[in-house]
Subunit: 429 residues, 2 copies
């Protein structure tokens, strides 16, 4: 793939997510040739995808060109590529644009949606892990309402206006809250000739509380926020199937719904050649405290794809942005030590807390030392998300959209730019 030979050792980073970018930034002044590979030419700020899906933000403001991040660093190369296979014995990658050799390899491939083997849900459900997926969901939501206008069959109309979100983590909670606000603030104005009061938002959680990674206090408050907004929260319900029309559950009730959003889990995005059973724990790649893959001194894994079992975290760090960024930074510093032949520094996770937002003035925040909910939590949530967005322009545009949406109770990006083209053929109209 035309990467020039260099006298510096070559580090190949697969993935330009939170982990990969954080690592790249920490390698900038080292005597290394760095090659970053990603299947997109941009970094995605995943925590705000639900706002793209619900028309509150444009996709371009939560994406950032990877080339622009790397622009100022010497000896950095980016290639738009999909890695097919790793050959550790030859230190070689096989990609869709040709082979690439490495001296050090870092897997920062993140995670993909986990359907737990349910191919039917995978085929008919919507996911929200990438910008194109979020735009598809945006189109489908709007198309459902356009379609609901056309039918006289009340049952069909209700199904078109019934949204089922599976998974009570931050993604599911935030999406459910955003849909509830659309119902409250926008729909009756946009569709005066539709009985939008019948719109139903169902959030389904298999366990006994939503936001289960957060405190009980946060879970309870978030649930009460959601209920206040009119979201139906179903706990201890396990979804078993979806044929594009009916959502079935393990219990005896089901939902007739044109839209199922699957936010019930993620799994490590593995690459062939490094996916042997003995390398994995919980489907993620086992790493030591230096993020080294066991048995491979020249291969590292960071972020969602890596599982670092320590005394504090028996199942590895949570699959979220924070551990990925911290591991990227630590590994970057360790590359400096490696080049200087100094001993490596083990990774220590600093849990800075977690948060989720439900709607305007409604968020929950768990910090290591204290917890709070409501308006102040909501401002903290916004500030933190703006802070971690890459790029001044993105921050400014997102901020302006938030201020505008807040003042006007509006979301103007309700645009069907590319129709999703759901198969509505089982509906009569």
């Amino acid at each position: 793939m035309n990467i020039p030979k260099s006298s510096y050792p070559r580090v190949v980073i697969i993935g330009g997510g939170f982990g990969g970018i954080s690592l790249a930034r920490n390698l900038k002044n080292l005597d290394l040739q760095v090659v970053m590979l990603d299947k997109h030419n941009y970094h995605t700020f995943q925590p705000l995808l639900y706002q793209v899906a619900t028309g509150g933000l444009e996709p371009d403001s939560i994406a950032y060109p990877i080339r622009k991040v790397l622009q100022e660093y010497a000896h950095f190369y980016f290639r738009l590529a999909q890695v097919k296979k790793i050959d550790p014995s030859e230190k070689l990658l096989e990609t869709d644009i040709g082979p690439l050799s490495y001296d050090y390899l870092v897997l920062a491939t993140g995670s993909v949606t986990n359907y737990f083997g349910n191919t039917q849900i995978e085929a008919y459900g919507m996911a929200m892990k990438s910008i194109p997926q979020s735009l598809n969901l945006r189109s489908l939501i709007l198309e459902n309402f356009e379609r609901a206008l056309l039918t006289d069959d009340l049952r069909e109309r209700d199904a078109l206006m019934c949204f089922v979100i599976v998974g009570g983590g931050p993604t599911g909670v935030e999406l459910a809250g955003a849909l509830a606000e659309i119902k409250k603030g926008i729909l009756h104005k946009d569709y005066p000739d539709l009985d939008t009061g019948r719109m139903q938002i169902n959030l389904i959680q298999s366990g006994d509380r939503i936001l289960k990674e957060m405190s009980v206090q946060a879970s309870e408050k978030a649930e009460s926020f959601l209920k206040g907004l009119g979201v139906k929260v179903w706990k201890n319900v396990r979804v078993t199937g979806y044929d594009g029309k009916v959502v079935t559950t393990k219990t005896d009730f089901s939902f007739e719904s044109a839209t199922l959003v699957w936010a019930a889990g993620v799994k490590a995005a593995l690459v062939q050649g490094l996916d042997a059973e003995n390398l994995l724990v919980g489907g993620r790649i086992k790493v030591n405290t230096f993020n080294q893959v066991l048995g491979h001194t020249d291969i590292y894994a960071i972020g969602d794809v890596a599982c670092m079992v320590t005394e504090d975290s028996a199942h590895g760090q949570p699959m979220m942005a924070q551990p990925a960024m911290q591991q990227g930074k630590n590994l970057g510093e360790n590359f400096a030590r490696l080049l200087d032949r100094r001993p490596l520094k083990p990774f220590e996770y600093k849990d800075k807390g977690s948060m989720a937002t439900v709607g305007r003035n409604k968020a929950v925040v768990d910090l290591p030392k204290f917890r709070f909910q409501g308006v102040f939590a909501w401002f903290v949530w916004m500030f933190v998300h703006l802070f971690f967005l890459i790029g001044f322009r993105n921050r400014l545009v997102v901020f302006i959209n938030w201020v505008y949406n807040y003042i006007r109770f509006d979301r103007e990006a309700r645009l069907i730019i590319r129709p999703f083209k759901k198969d509505y053929s089982h509906y009569k109209s």
Copy 2:
């Protein structure tokens, strides 16, 4: 399509472009039921599509939900629909979501790209008349550079970095200028390992000057601006074909290019049932000075699709936003007169001038009374475009992007959100 019966006469407007929206706004207080049909759920601000294509603006900031425009008016209905056929004798429309009757019909369907029957160029060339088309072009431009990195064949690399824009109207001129600025300000930073100096931008005009609808002074200044930016301007050259690889012309030279953008003409977007030869002039629907279609007192046409032959304009008004908006307004006022049984007011076109921008600090403006070019013209161009954008949020976001791009010499929306997937198979790499 479930439009309730009303005691008011029903006006159906096909198209939510400049003409349709302007008309709708002028009907808001009348005793009419208004139904607007469009195949998109948003209004597109076409003059800025080239900035979406070149990564300077996000698509969502130049689109505006049609439902939001109509939100505040009573008796207004919007349907996302494609009209298949008009049956004037039954006063009925056939659409993809069912039939619709009308008392008055207004065609505001605008125009589509005119390939003048060249199906090869239609198949392999890129157009820039809609947001999805502009996003496809954005993806292709970026994909070409990613691909150029991978080849050692200089001829192939040059073809990937060679852009051919056919048509020297405002669209072609503005796109050529924007590409030249990307070459100058961004490419060498984004692709330090590519000889981006070899990128070629060719603007091809069949006639003897670009911007032929404007003054000679504007044409000459725009050409000199373009040349200053490194664009090759080819005049009196007629493009005859493009197979995805080679652009042929009527003269004996050709261009090897992976990208041909066709901006050489538009034609009226006709609807079946009202496209009989005797109703047309220059491919557009003949209308009288009240925008009435000849022989149909209950059917009107406005904007690009209509041709109003008057003493001042032998070929009808130019196919641009201004005449469409003015005709929409006049027709709206005439509907009020119609309801009051007052005599209708003939349309009079007020030519407010025209303008085009080439790049930063470089624009040309022709006003009825005077002409100017350069920095001031550029500010006027920006001000006018911001003014005509719909929506406060859109104006603010576009303005911020412009300020940012101006200060930073940057365009951050260089994102391949959905790959265009050009067939590169005839290239070796």
